[in-house]
């Protein structure tokens, strides 16, 4: 019973944390735009939180620079279980345009496990909504 309640709450109201790990801002403003009235991601109960300790889903953009890799790991560790990571943007998925630059790690999955990849350079708000909705669908199916 309690398990079902927790699962219901998790799927109906995931709280997200947005972290820029060296992105060019394009994906970041599109993530924000997805949360704004025009696209309104909040209708899924999604709320942007400021602290990693409140968040269920980490939305991470950027190719992860070497400077920020350790900090990203720390932020991920601070999030309570169970936690999910969505890599937003081509560079968060694989390094994208910055592949081969001397200061980048080529993707979020080099540092922390990733649950969903949303490619695009930059990602359109529609694609972000699609990615997040798919993640929520997965959560619903999984036996919590």
């Amino acid at each position: 019973m309690l398990k079902r309640l927790v699962k219901w709450a998790r799927v109906k109201s995931p709280w997200i944390l947005h972290f820029n790990s060296g992105a060019c801002n394009a994906c970041d403003i599109e993530i924000l735009a997805a949360l704004m009235p025009h696209y309104d991601l909040e209708r899924f109960g999604i709320l942007l939180k400021a602290s990693p300790r409140h968040a269920d889903v980490l939305i991470c953009s950027g190719p992860v620079t070497k400077q920020v890799a350790k900090r990203l790991k720390r932020i991920y560790d601070q999030m309570p279980e169970p936690k999910f990571v969505v890599a937003v943007g081509a560079c968060a998925c694989s390094g994208g345009a910055f592949r081969g630059c001397y200061n980048v790690m080529e993707g979020v999955d080099q540092v922390i496990p990733v649950s969903a990849y949303v490619p695009g350079c930059p990602v359109k708000p529609e694609a972000i909504i699609d990615g997040v909705a798919k993640l929520l669908g997965k959560l619903q199916q999984s036996a919590a």
Binding site: N20, C24, A26, L32, A33, A50, Q67, P122
Partner: protein, 399 residues
């Protein structure tokens, strides 16, 4: 307790920072008595990466320096390359380039106004502004096919033409934006609770702004009359009639006023561009892939201030050096200083008031001062004199 000071670190991840950066504030009670910043979290090594790509691939990469002012960086870069190649860009190409420049300024200033409102806890305005910003984004998508990185510039012109239908459609959407802007101008300058949070915060005097080399709306809000669009005209700005907005407020309120009025000027410019749009080609037909040896400096008034690109070529397909000085770099020191004397609660809005963009700015520095290897340090005075001489000789501008 008394005189004890406490150091508060903010960043790299913090709710008010949209990008990773770190600030240290020395606090005495509620008052900030010292501030330092540390950047470099966003450094990706793009200038080095440019050296391994050809001129067209660089265009793709440089567009991704910053997602908000992506067009600024590519325009600045192609201007430098066109200058080395001595290309004459067709008038229509220049007009379309300028059109995207101004639309970008529009979306960037709307974005900033929203973020500034959010930083002082005025979320209603934040939501309103971002909703209207979507109108601009749709125009940009209509013109270029992309919402954020437009990829419209190419060496020697632009890549997409504007149809008559699109032209009419854009002119139609401008009316809606104008109507909304009147409302924001009123809110931004009359709403008492908003004013109470921004008036007198982040003071930066005109003299200090000159000393700290402030640029863009930040400098103009301190009464400094600088604007590359007028001072060193590029693209189609020579044909346009516009005012440079300045304010003597010297605080965050001034920066709000400057930006809001600049939106109005941009709307005016877009209207002029669309009505005057000349016929003809949009780009130079044949552009050589190899660029002859030489160098060029290009200046551009990005939404955040003066953007400078330096490109050096060596006769091959790849540039030998591309150097970017983004506007935030020039303003960041000044902004950090302007916080001193304010309260803790004013930190977010004071930092946000320069519209910081760390992805443009970030760099690593290696300090070399090895006299044995013949390295020497250029002093500020020498550098300044060199710059003044260079502009007098090459561009005929007297400071």
């Amino acid at each position: 307790m008394g005189e004890k000071t406490i150091r508060i670190p903010i960043g790299p991840q913090h709710p008010f920072l949209k990008e990773p950066a770190k600030f240290d504030f020395d606090i005495s009670g509620e008052e900030i008595i010292g501030a330092r910043m540390r950047i470099g979290y966003n450094h990706r090594g793009m200038e080095k990466a440019c050296e391994e790509r050809n001129y067209y691939q660089c265009l793709y990469l440089l567009e991704r320096i910053c997602g908000i002012c992506s067009h600024s960086h590519t325009t600045c870069y192609v201007q430098a390359v066109e200058d080395i190649l001595k290309l004459e860009v067709p008038k229509r190409g220049l007009y379309l380039r300028t059109l995207v420049c101004e639309l970008e300024r529009l979306h960037s200033h709307f974005l900033w106004l929203g973020v500034a409102a959010h930083e002082v806890g005025f979320d209603t305005l934040f939501m309103y502004v971002w909703r209207d910003r979507e109108v601009v984004m749709e125009i940009l998508e209509e013109i270029s096919g992309n919402r954020v990185n437009y990829a419209i510039n190419t060496i020697g012109g632009v890549r997409r033409d504007l149809t008559e239908e699109q032209r009419k459609k854009i002119l139609g959407s401008l009316d809606l934006l104008k109507k909304r802007l009147d409302y924001y101008t009123h809110i931004g300058t009359h709403e008492p609770s908003f004013l109470a949070r921004i008036q007198g915060v982040g003071k930066m005097s005109k003299e200090r702004a000159i000393q700290m080399c402030a640029v863009g709306p930040f400098a103009r809000a301190s009464g400094l009359d600088v604007d590359v669009r007028r001072d060193d005209q590029y693209a189609a700005y020579g044909d346009l009639d516009f005012k440079v907005i300045t304010s003597d407020q010297c605080d965050v309120l001034g920066r709000v006023i400057v930006r809001v009025l600049e939106i109005a000027e941009s709307l005016k410019m877009i209207q002029q561009l669309l009505t005057k749009l000349p016929e003809g080609d949009i780009a130079v037909k044949k552009v050589p892939r190899r660029v002859p040896a030489g160098f060029s400096i290009s200046r551009y008034e990005a939404p955040r201030g003066e953007d400078v690109h330096y490109v050096r070529s060596n006769g091959t397909e790849k540039p030998e050096r591309v150097k970017v000085r983004a506007p935030t770099m020039a303003n960041l020191e000044a902004a950090t200083e302007s916080i001193v004397g304010s309260f803790i609660a004013d930190i977010p809005i004071a930092i946000a008031s320069i519209d910081p963009c760390f992805s443009c700015t970030d760099r690593t520095a290696v300090v070399l001062n090895d006299k044995k290897k013949g390295m020497r340090i250029t002093t500020w005075e020498e550098l300044r004199r060199y710059g003044v001489d260079w502009y007098r000789k090459n561009k005929g501008i007297h400071f």
